[in-house]
Amino acid sequence: MAGLTENTCWKDFVSGKEYAFRVLYDYYADRLFAFGCRYSQDTELIRDLIHDLFVDIHHYRPRLDANANATAYLFSSLRRKIASAVKKRQRHMELYAAFEEGIPFLIEWDIERMAIRNEEEAELLRRVVKEVNRLSGRHQEALYLRFTCELDYAEVADVMGVSIASCRTMVYRAVKELRKKLADIPVSNVLFIALMHSRK
């Protein structure tokens, strides 16, 4: 966002500068779509909800908080809309079964889009993926937001509706659990894995 941070842009938008609406949309549309698809595989639905989200923020603009964190606000609003849409569809669902799980987080972690050097590395990554998929939904969600979406702790906390401290604990515990589950792998034999994708 050429020298313009998300939050300044958000401030401009809330204070009524029309250009900022389009800039926000262009910056967030793809990220929100990818994020939304983690909660529902119905891509049409996600499109509709992104549509609603931007119509809403335009409509409620005077009442939005100019100092809010734009990323956290948009992600959590979309998440809430998905929860409510999913709920409407499954209205007769068992009351507490639905509640215990929160919004079902659908990510099925995989290694499909990764550059892998050799079979040995593939083996290791498959093990990691297997263990990540076994973590609790909340833990997976926290890891997804922190590592895949690259949000900071304050943003993850806002999206998930918990305090920053407990969010940090959640990520720490999830990684610790992974580390323990993977302890049986003789890592020293594994080839050194370089970080493949560079930061955009």
Binding site: A29, V55, E100, R113, T148, S163, A165, L195
Partner: protein, 374 residues
């Protein structure tokens, strides 16, 4: 110092930078593999064509609704009684009387759960996602509105959000009073059912329930279902706490597990505190000092062998300020006594942390406590 995988990936800095700083070795290799999986899940976005198409839809909806809206402004009327002890009265009925949602209360609570923004105000959110912002209203009175006689089927749920750093008191349509502590959300129907009164609580609330033998009052939480038989009691059910608890001040309540938490129905007597350790699903009932549980309604915090870690979490919520301790402070140290919550947070921390040994630094929404180097 030997860092472990979780220390490398769990840090505040971008994990990638943290990884790069780490010397080579098995720990780094494992951290990198985990990082590679966690960060490598990026999926394609909409793509330029779809993005443009969606943008056109958004702008056309906006221009359409702008035309319609001018006719439809009557949905909200807000009456504010000014004065020192201002009581904000909300004509929520009008506002709430729209929207088709009819869902069990727990689901409504889930969908209404809105962002507890750092700078947020106290908010009311309806089932149709309309939001009403109530700035610093000491009391929100929903009882003075006549129960609408219409027998329309649709009944929406409203969620009252109290962000971290704030507290409020709400009078429900039946006259029951609820004090809500920082970082709490209370969901209730626009009209109470003819058979029973149901609310859903996330966070902490002190309930003073209006007596009505024909309509029992239920408090749902993620772990408990509390059936109230006319009474005053406190419930603490924060999602990020390890426990859910309730303490009965007067009257009688019946407790029942929900979801994973299954235990025999249990009737509490005044002075009883029931504490559920969520992870272990262990329920303990003890005779407790009631005062310490409800002191927050009077802006006090009474501690009885409260572990330091728990105390810090409570202060973070009450003051909406992050407390960062440089060293691991999860010691076994516990605290007893009374803290005056009208004092600034730094003064309270100065009581807890000996200033001979610690430096307390206030940053914006963050307090850093460091051990003095000698």
């Amino acid at each position: 110092m030997n860092r472990n995988v979780e220390d490398i990936l769990g840090g505040d800095d971008a994990p990638r930078q943290n990884l790069e700083r780490e010397p080579d070795g098995p720990v780094k290799k494992m951290a990198m593999s985990i990082f590679k999986v966690l960060s490598g899940q990026k999926t394609p976005g909409l793509g330029p064509e779809d993005r443009e198409q969606l943008w056109k839809r958004i702008t056309s909806t906006i221009s359409e609704t702008d035309q319609k809206r001018s006719k439809k402004i009557r949905w909200l009327t807000l009456a504010v009684a000014a004065g020192i002890a201002a009581v904000v009265t909300v004509s929520a009925w009008f506002w709430l009387s729209q929207g088709p949602v009819q869902a069990p209360i727990a689901l409504a609570a889930l969908s209404n759960q809105n962002l507890l923004m750092d700078t947020g105000a106290i908010k009311l959110m309806g089932g149709d996602e309309r939001m009403l912002i109530l700035d610093d209203a000491p009391v929100i009175d929903l009882s003075s509105f006549p129960n609408q006689a219409d027998t329309e089927e649709d009944n929406t749920f409203t969620t009252l959000t109290v962000p971290y750093g704030k507290r409020t008191e709400v009078v429900l349509p039946d006259g029951s009073k609820v004090w809500l502590n920082a970082g709490s959300q209370l969901t209730f129907p626009q009209r109470f059912d003819t058979q029973k009164r149901e609310v859903y609580l996330e966070g902490e609330g002190y309930f003073d329930v209006a007596h009505d033998a024909r309509k029992p009052f239920f408090v749902h939480t993620a772990d408990f279902l509390i059936k109230v038989l006319g009474t005053a009691f406190n419930v603490s059910s924060y999602r990020d706490d390890a426990f859910t608890s309730t303490v009965l001040v007067s009257g009688k309540i019946e407790l029942q597990g929900v979801g994973k938490q299954q235990f025999e129905k249990l009737v509490l007597e005044p002075g009883n505190t029931a504490v559920l350790q969520k992870e272990a699903s262990r329920l303990e009932v003890r005779q407790d000092d009631v005062e310490s549980h409800i002191s927050w309604t009077r802006r006090q915090l009474i501690l009885r062998s409260t572990p330091l870690a728990e105390l810090l979490i409570r202060l973070e919520r009450i003051y909406n300020t992050e407390i960062v301790t440089a060293n691991e402070v999860f010691t076994d140290e516990t605290f007893s006594g009374r803290l005056d919550l009208t004092q600034p947070l730094t003064s309270l921390l100065a009581i807890i942390y000996d200033q001979q040994a610690y430096v307390i630094k206030q940053e914006e929404r963050r307090i850093v406590i460091q051990e003095k180097l000698n």
